[in-house]
């Protein structure tokens, strides 16, 4: 099934219009597109930075904002200590700076449209970014697709989009939200202490009104393997489990 094709993903210059500190290591960069595009929840952009001598560094970042009429997209970028591009964003980039990007890209890790079966989302750390685009899209579109999000984070204060997710847990119908905190005990009885495993994934999936029709998993390679195997153990077909692995 061909869901989206990047027909003309030309490079374009975008202005940074806002920078928001999300967690100690993650900031959101709000970029105003010069050429508007119509992205689907789950897609990414390629960003390139160009040095005065022409040296170019390129990385891919998921779009965290929902598709909308706005020309502004949100990228949540984690500062990797050994990184080349993410330290630039965290330490150098300022509001008003111009960044080159192209997109939207990716035709696989996409919110299923139309969908009626429940959707299971599993992310770790900044890997929640494309899943957040899906949740925000579901809210904005008022689709009645039940969604459960299992999000692994080291600590409570490092949970990306924590306050927004807690608010959505209260206000958005058919949205289940569970945290798995790996470096400190969870305080909410609906959350988990420690790393995710098949039991945790099954517990969260069971909060959906019916078995999930598909699952999206995003995080490090090791995390994705554990999560994807746990979803397979629920009985989902491999082809309904879409993964994105960070770490390159």
């Amino acid at each position: 099934m061909t869901e989206a094709i990047a027909a003309t993903a030309r490079w374009q210059s975008c202005a940074i219009v806002e920078i928001a500190t999300r967690t100690p290591a993650i900031k959101s960069f709000f970029l105003r597109l010069s050429e508007t595009f119509d992205h689907k929840a789950g897609q990414h952009v390629d960003v390139r930075l160009i040095a005065p001598n022409g040296y170019t560094a390129m990385r891919s970042y998921s779009i965290a904002s929902a598709p909308s009429n706005s020309r502004v997209i949100e990228l949540a970028i984690e500062r990797l200590p050994d990184g080349e591009v993410s330290p630039f964003f965290h330490d150098v980039a300022q509001v008003g700076d111009t960044i080159e990007l192209r997109g939207p890209l990716g035709g696989h890790f996409l919110w299923p449209r139309p969908s009626n079966k429940p959707v299971l989302l599993i992310g770790a750390g900044s890997g929640v970014a494309p899943l957040m685009a899906m949740i925000r899209y579901r809210k904005a579109s008022a689709e009645v697709v039940p969604v459960a999000l299992l999000l692994s984070s080291r600590t409570w204060r490092e949970v990306l989009f924590r306050d927004e997710l807690l608010e959505l847990e209260m206000s958005l119908p058919d949205f289940a939200f569970a945290l798995a905190l790996t470096r400190e005990p969870a305080t909410r009885c609906t959350d988990f202490s420690g790393r995710i495993d098949a039991r945790v994934v099954a517990d969260v999936a069971a909060r959906l009104p019916a078995s999930p029709g598909c699952a999206f998993v995003c995080g490090s390679n090791a995390f994705v393997d554990i999560a994807a195997d746990a979803v397979l153990a629920l009985g989902l077909e491999a082809g309904t489990i879409k993964t994105e692995r960070y770490g390159a």
């Binding site: 390129m58 111009t98 994705v224 491999a238």
Partner: protein, 201 residues
């Protein structure tokens, strides 16, 4: 236009003649997949050569392992922008697969198929004459599952999504048929030196 304040890592003498535009070197071996990592036991493994819809020859794991072995050490380039130099592979050259089947070149186009339903298209000219293999070992060890084990296609001169993991067959096609990522916005050919990342690049 230069990005304000960006100088890049650019540390040391980069072997820039080996790093295609837009790529950066890594020392680790990143893993990217569209779905779960399949588990394929040797007893369940087989490899099918097809001409159009018609199976031409099927090899079991032991039959396939008895084919002549080829080693190659190559630089590899992933479309997500990492490149890795001097990766050492051992496997069966596509030439030797075709020779064992007694097949030369029924069509100029090939679609590689995989256990997980993945596929990717590669012209025969990019598979034959020693350019590509079905790799069974990486750095002297059996190919790890996460890197496509037990066997993956290796087409090192094209972006690495063409080097399909968990490969289980090659199919000659009349036309150049787009595979999994080629149907989802990625380039039909994928030459890293011409930055053929996405459909219209």
């Amino acid at each position: 236009m230069a990005t304000r304040g960006f100088t890049g890592r650019q540390s040391g003498p980069e072997p820039s003649d080996r790093v295609p535009p837009g790529q950066h070197l890594v020392n680790n071996f990143p893993v990217l997949t569209a779905g779960p990592t399949p588990r394929i036991e040797p007893a369940d493994w087989n490899f099918t050569l097809k001409v159009g819809p018609r199976p031409f020859k099927v090899w079991s794991w032991s039959d396939f392992n008895a084919l002549p072995r080829t080693r190659m050490t190559r630089d590899i380039h992933c479309v997500t922008s990492w490149s890795k130099l001097n990766t050492a592979w051992e496997g069966v050259a596509v030439d030797d697969i075709l020779a064992d089947a007694g097949l030369s070149a029924p069509t100029p186009f090939v679609l590689a198929h995989c256990f997980d339903g993945y596929s990717t298209n590669v012209p025969l000219a990019d598979l034959a004459t020693g350019k590509a293999m079905v790799a069974l070992k990486y750095e002297g060890q059996p190919l790890p599952r996460e890197h496509g084990g037990p066997a993956r296609l290796l087409v090192p001169h094209l972006y690495f999504w063409k080097s399909a993991k968990w490969v289980n067959g090659l199919q000659f096609t009349e036309r150049d048929e787009a595979g999994f990522w080629e149907l989802r916005g990625y380039h039909i050919y994928g030459d890293p030196w011409n930055e053929q990342r996405y459909t219209n690049d």
